[in-house]
Structure formats: structure tokens, C-alpha cells
Symmetry: C2
Subunit: 328 residues, 2 copies
Amino acid sequence: MNAVTQPANSMVIPTYDDVLQAHDRIRPYVHRTPILTSEFMNELTGADLYFKCENFQKAGAFKVRGASNAVFGLDESTAEKGVATHSSGNHALSLSYAAGRRGIPCHVVMPRTAPQAKKDAVMGYGGTITECEPSTSSREAVFAEVQAETGADFVHPYNDPRVIAGQGTCSKEMVEDLGELDAVIAPIGGGGMISGTCLTLSNIAPKTEIFAAEPKNADDAYRSFKAGHIIADDAPETIADGLKVPLKELTWHFVSNHVTDILTATEEEIVDAMYLTWQRMKIVMEPSCAVPLATIIKNREVFAGKKVGVIITGGNVDLKKLPWMNKA
Amino acid sequence: MNAVTQPANSMVIPTYDDVLQAHDRIRPYVHRTPILTSEFMNELTGADLYFKCENFQKAGAFKVRGASNAVFGLDESTAEKGVATHSSGNHALSLSYAAGRRGIPCHVVMPRTAPQAKKDAVMGYGGTITECEPSTSSREAVFAEVQAETGADFVHPYNDPRVIAGQGTCSKEMVEDLGELDAVIAPIGGGGMISGTCLTLSNIAPKTEIFAAEPKNADDAYRSFKAGHIIADDAPETIADGLKVPLKELTWHFVSNHVTDILTATEEEIVDAMYLTWQRMKIVMEPSCAVPLATIIKNREVFAGKKVGVIITGGNVDLKKLPWMNKA
């Protein structure tokens, strides 16, 4: 799918005013997450790293920011029919959480291969799951059926201006807490967090460089960035299960206009960075969150000497299936 | 060993002034750790729980408080010969860390069965390890040899007034941050943290109840408390490897005078509470730290409706040997 094939009315680009409104709207439903530092990580990388811990966020991930902004921004009559989405995991449970807080239904299409911990969490928040195959094409087909049946409002996991404005509140908090940063880095899958980061920083900290970190095994955003147009893979294989989805026109708008560079890491580099973070920082986080640190370690020349915000995106990992269990 | 058999000059009981001095002395070398809350845990237990995260502490455990107080309180000529200790783990690496910061030698006797992660960390901080068998008797015999050879100053892991005063800074921070608490609960092994907690709270928050939590498989403190004198086991078996050591006369002084009750939990209850904390709070912590939560869950009537401080004592766990790997 490419921007030019998309109807113009779906291309509502959120503004920084939307981020400000989102922050006011979602404040009762989300945590202002702590920012951790680690001398060990600073010595390892030569940079001053500030880890924004969205793994401690409500529902265990940053996605609750965008989902809450969408759910609590609905008018009453739309809200009554509920919300629906497809998601590789965290958006699903974030939307279920937000819908539950508002007391409206939430319908979720999830790959059957998604971690059981995430499925359990969606159901725990009161969401209804319909399973699909682990490919973008199957996901979108099954979702169309669900939406037709329910009439629920579609909250796309990332290609939605309400969601992007919500995610933009994360880097707003970082700037408020830390002042100006030389760079911010976050993982990129569909590009929702990166787009929110671009939206906020391009307005309030335009000198801050924005890096996106992507698994080499699912490097469609990297290839898109280099090619100058969206390239989408149908079913990439990576341990960073939150980062398998492709860019869409709205996130492509932000990525192509505001991202400094996209850096990639191999599966082994991701697992090593994840292990190191658990071991030294004592936090539980998903493989996806380790991709930025993995790229910082391997691109020392890019980050050394800089004040860098690193977004730890979520902590919903299956503790019984940790990747180093297969490596030891 | 019993208090009456001990020479009087080893029974220097620290005062709250020692805690105040310790806090000033160690401030440059330790973190003021964050306090986390969890709606899920509050709903589960019916209590208002405040988790003091010493797993995020320097060297990964609260023990760095007492170790730093001892190391940085030494006069120059004593400090030159270094410090020595025996420890099941966290005191060893905390003392190594503190000695390293001061630039003096640190000699450590450790059970050969201690987690490799802890041995690596001791060596990483520059400590020298001599291994012993995993029993109190072997540990004390090997240590006597090491101390005779080096002339280093013995910093006992808990039966030392400098160490207890240092540990007392943890509950001082809790009271400063949270105001008066109805209760504080911490794990008990040798009783260093509990003694420091007693020392501080009996002075600045005398109405706060103090609970100690102990593995049922290593319940010598529980049996001592009920019997009214120290009972020591030589080599108890529990997953909570930091809690195998017995009370000594100084910690017995505090436990017998100030502790409200000692509660115990089975191995399965400890692992379940540990898993739940990792899963819901996204923090990496040791099995020992899960004992308080396990006892809160099983003694709902004791804690429900109360404002309770829970000390998460350390995060130095071997990530490749997690207990639920054997259970799944």
C-alpha cells in the first residue's frame, strides 16, 4: 500500500495541539513513567542514556497512550458500539484496557501465534479476541469481517492520528523531565511511537535527532527509508514480535520527514542487549525494547558523547519463554 | 551461638545517630531507590503496598548501604589492609563495590554453590574470592584463615553495628518519602535489614509494625522468635538463597525487641509471588524478595486495609536459572 493509493480523507495529520489535548485527556488513565539511568550502560556505550520506562506503563506498554486518547476522545454514540483493532499484542491489550476503563466493548483480531501472556491480558481487561494467521494479509481480512459484524470504531494500532498524538505524549514527558536531548531512539514496527516522537520533537525540540531501531530480520522500514517509498513485507520472522508490521501512509509521512536515520540489529544482538538490560538494570522488558540499545552498542560513533533518550516500549513478555533459555 | 557467650565488646548496639551519620556518609555511593506501587497487587492483597526497590540499588542490593557505611567509616591505616567478609552473595559484591570505590582490597569467602552471576559481579568489582562449602561451619572456618593471612578488617554481612546502621537508611528514606506507615515488611536471613529497620522505625515511627518474612525451609529466625533464643541451622535448603544464614547476637537484639511477628512461606508460595511480581510489576528481583509478598498474600487478615512498605531487597538473580523454568 502506498500513500498515493490512499483516499485523502484518511490522511488527517495530527498536530502538536493534538498531543497537548491527548496529554490532558489520558492523564487519569496512564502513568507518568519513570526515567532510569545506568552507569554501566553509559560506560558501555560512551553516551548518557536515559531510559523512559514504558514497560512500567498501564497495560505494560506505551500503546496505552494512543489507545486511551482514541477511546476517551469518542463521542457517546460512537463509543456505544465499542472499538475494534488488529494488533500483534500491546495495542490490543492497551485498547482493551482503555475500553474497559470507559466501559465499552473492545474487539481484537490477534495472530494465533501471539504470546499467550498477551492473549490472557487482553481477555483479563475484558477484550474479545478473534484469531488470524500471523501475516498482514490474513490479519486485515479477518478484521474486515469483525468490523462489519460489530460496527465498532476502528482504532488502527498506529496509522491513526489519535493514536500518534497519544504516543507523542511520551517524548513530551521526556523533554519536560530531561530538558533538551541530543537524540531520541525508539523501536520501529508500524511507526506509531516514532511518528508521535517526530510530531512532538519537531515542535518542541527541533534540534533533537530522532533514530528508529529495527530488527534486521524485519527491516522494511529501513528499506523504505532508503528507497523513499513504503516497502511492506507480509510475514517477517523476528524475536521482536511487536515490530513485524509495515509502515502505513500516516507513519510514513512522519518517518520520511523527520527521522534522522534507521538502524538495524540482528536477532543475536537484540537478545544480547535484552539480556544485558535485564541483568544490569533489573527491569523486565520485551525483545522489541532491546533493539535501540543493540543499535546504540553497535553504532558507538553515532551516540558517544550525546545525551540520548531511549524509549523502553513495553514489558509484556512471556516469562516462561525467554530467548536466552534456548541459547545457554 | 548465644548472646551470653559473646564478649561484651562485640555487642556495640548502634543508635539512630549512627543511621543519620551513615546516611550522610554513604549518599555519594548509593542510590535513593524509587518506590513503586501496583494497582494489581493492591487489589490482590487488599492492602496499600509500597515497594522500595533496592533491586535498583548500586551493586543490585540494599547491602551496599551497610557495606559502604563500614568501608567509608574506616580510618586510613585500617583501610589500607582492606576489608574481608563471608557472604552468600549480595554482601560480598556490595563490599567489593564499596572497597573498589575507596580503592582498597576486598577479600570474600563465598559458598561454591553461590550463583555464578554473583561470583562474576564480585570479581567485576575487583573483589578476591575464596570458596567454601555451602554451610555456616565451613564458611566460618575458611574465613578465619583468610582473615589471618590478610589482616583485613572483618565486615560481617549483618552482625556488625556499622552494617546495621547502614541498612537503617533504607526505612529512613521510606518514612521520608511516604510519611507514617502502618507496617513495614522485609525478608529475614541473618537479620541485618530487619535490624536496621527496627533501629530506624523504633526511633522515628514507633507505631509502625515491623514484620519479617522467612522461607519455611529456613525458618530458624521464626523458631528463634517463638522460642525466645537464637536457634541456628547449619545448611538449610531454600530457593531464597540470600536467607539461609542464622541470626547472631546483635540482630537477635533487634528482632527480639522490636519485631511484631515473623511470617513464613513455602518454596512454591515464594516462586509464585516472584513470578507474579516479575509479570505484573516488570521488575527483576531475587527469590528472597518475594518472601514478603508471599506472606502478605497468605496472611490477608494481617495486612488488608493497611499502608505497608515492602522492601525489595535485591535483583542479582541468575537469569538463566529462573525457578519457573523447572515448573512449567
